[in-house]
């Protein structure tokens, strides 16, 4: 295994009551992986017993009724994805996407290390629902790899062969078409869709790519039913979700929260610095919230939409006092531009231009308002035009920076800056590895 070391300072599970029922983080003490015996004792036997009794179409129906949406960032309804692949008959392929290429994320890592059997259950359910020939599981780190290897060896009767894959270590490598090319032995680069991967994915077969957290929920839905699943969360966005919280909090780590929870409750559980500058919601494709926006905001797509934000893959970072939002955003956009695959015009030319203009916005030479106008124009030009959503993600962060840090932009226009230090937002020196 040669995965470049990832920063795991956030990879602590923080089970907490008061944030919602703990479903993925429930069970024995969260120090090491839950064993097969513990898993079966806690959840009433192996998933295969359950799967023998339920026909595949009923499984898909249950997932659709549960309202489960993808937890990898896009929020697509999981049942609809299964159904779309199932329309081609049986023989589709399932990919558990644990690439977790977002540097500030650690929830897939935590899940695979501590609760590997929940994810493997979900992989079996999806495979069974699709009549799949095989399944892949992409692991984010050596520790996750070891945990899943051990878990696979413990499982008695398996329906489908599961092949474990070392994850890509470039940011866009976690995108679904890139993951498929990576598994095929190619470079971890996205391709243009259509054809959609549910129609033509791995080696041309219909393929369902699902985030590993989505799979863990799916496994529990097959055991406990859609009504159980939907009893928590909001009507449109049921269930719990994992949040990776880092930055200016006393207890950084991975929290499980009911969707729709007040943001202040989550932050309260983590011990936030009261003088924090802003909260980044939704990771590096996400949005900044300033302190006055946080009270009353709820953690769901609908709850954050009025603030032009979205939970994404549940990545949050609280910017510590003394940081300049413009400098931090410039560093992230610059990193995103470097991480772009440059296969597309908007990525090859647009993102470096955004990064350069962000540099002027964050500088002290009084160029902030001119840079702001260019950033707006280029954001409008770039949006929607990459083969994958990478450029759109960068555009989202740029727009949010302009909207959230108006005070700081004014200060910079006059040659000032309120920053006294750099934050510890992780920006690893990843490069696309040759396949």
């Amino acid at each position: 295994m040669s995965i470049a070391t990832r920063d795991l300072t956030r990879a602590f599970a923080r089970p907490r009551s008061g944030l919602g029922p703990q479903r993925l983080l429930a069970g024995p003490k969260l120090g090491s992986g839950e064993s097969w015996d513990e898993h079966c004792a806690r959840l009433d036997g192996p998933i295969s017993d359950r799967l023998r009794r339920v026909p595949p179409d009923r499984l898909i129906e249950a997932v659709r009724r549960s309202g489960l949406r993808g937890r990898g960032g896009g929020g697509f309804p999981a049942g609809d994805k299964l159904l779309a692949a199932r329309r081609h008959g049986s023989g589709a392929v399932v990919v558990g996407n644990g690439s977790e290429t977002e540097p500030a994320a650690a929830k897939d890592e935590v899940l695979l290390r501590l609760r590997p059997h929940l994810v493997l259950d979900g992989l079996e359910v999806a495979a069974r629902a699709l009549g799949a020939r095989g399944a892949f599981l992409v692991a984010p780190s050596p520790a996750a790899w070891d945990s899943v290897t051990e878990a696979l060896a413990e499982r008695a009767d398996r329906h489908v062969p599961v092949q474990l894959i070392e994850g890509p270590r470039n940011f866009v490598g976690g995108e679904e078409t890139a993951v498929i090319r990576w598994i095929e032995g190619g470079p971890a680069l996205p391709r243009f869709q259509p054809p959609r991967v549910v129609d033509r994915g791995w080696r041309g077969l219909p393929t369902v790519v699902q985030n590993v957290e989505t799979l863990a929920h799916l496994g529990l839905i097959a055991r406990l039913g859609p009504e159980w699943f939907a009893a928590v969360g909001t009507e449109a966005e049921p269930g719990t979700m994992l949040i990776t919280l880092s930055g200016a909090v006393e207890r950084p780590g991975v929290y499980e929260v009911a969707i729709g929870l007040e943001l202040t409750k989550l932050l309260g559980a983590a011990g936030p610095d009261p003088k924090a500058v802003a909260l980044l919601v939704g990771g590096y494709f996400g949005s900044w919230l300033r302190a006055p926006q946080i009270p009353g905001a709820r953690l769901s797509r609908a709850g954050l939409a009025p603030l032009a934000a979205s939970p994404g893959a549940g990545v949050m970072h609280l910017l510590p006092p003394g940081s300049c939002g413009l400098r931090e955003s410039h560093r992230v956009v610059d990193w995103l531009a470097q991480q772009g695959a440059r296969q597309c015009g908007p990525c090859a030319h647009g993102l470096p231009a955004l990064a350069e203009a962000m540099g002027r916005l964050a500088g002290h030479r009084g160029q902030a308002s001119e840079a702001g106008a260019q950033l707006r124009r280029w954001s409008d030009q770039i949006e929607g035009r990459g083969a994958c959503r990478h450029p759109d993600g960068a555009v989202n962060l740029v727009r949010s920076t302009l909207a959230a840090f108006g005070d700081e932009i004014e200060l910079h226009e006059r040659g000032g800056c309120s920053g006294t230090r750099l934050s510890n937002l992780p920006l690893p020196p990843w490069e696309l590895r040759p396949a």
């Binding site: 015009g345 124009r377 929607g384």
Partner: protein, 81 residues
Amino acid sequence: MSEQYLHVDPTLCVGHRICAELLPELIGLDDWGYPIISPDPIPRVLRRRARGTRTACPALALALDHSPGRKARRDTAVAAP
């Protein structure tokens, strides 16, 4: 007949700009010379020219089909020189 839409595969396009010269009604350019394509259905009167433009692309990056594309914004696009 159902509506037709024009798409570009951005991984194939290298910014030849020919499309924007041949079909300025539907194709503008971004500040780096790459096409921004109208997300609206191709008007009937432009269908023939749209087909011709597709075959004229040296990178074979253009496609015509019946599914609407993503909503790209053309309001800041510039016309081909």
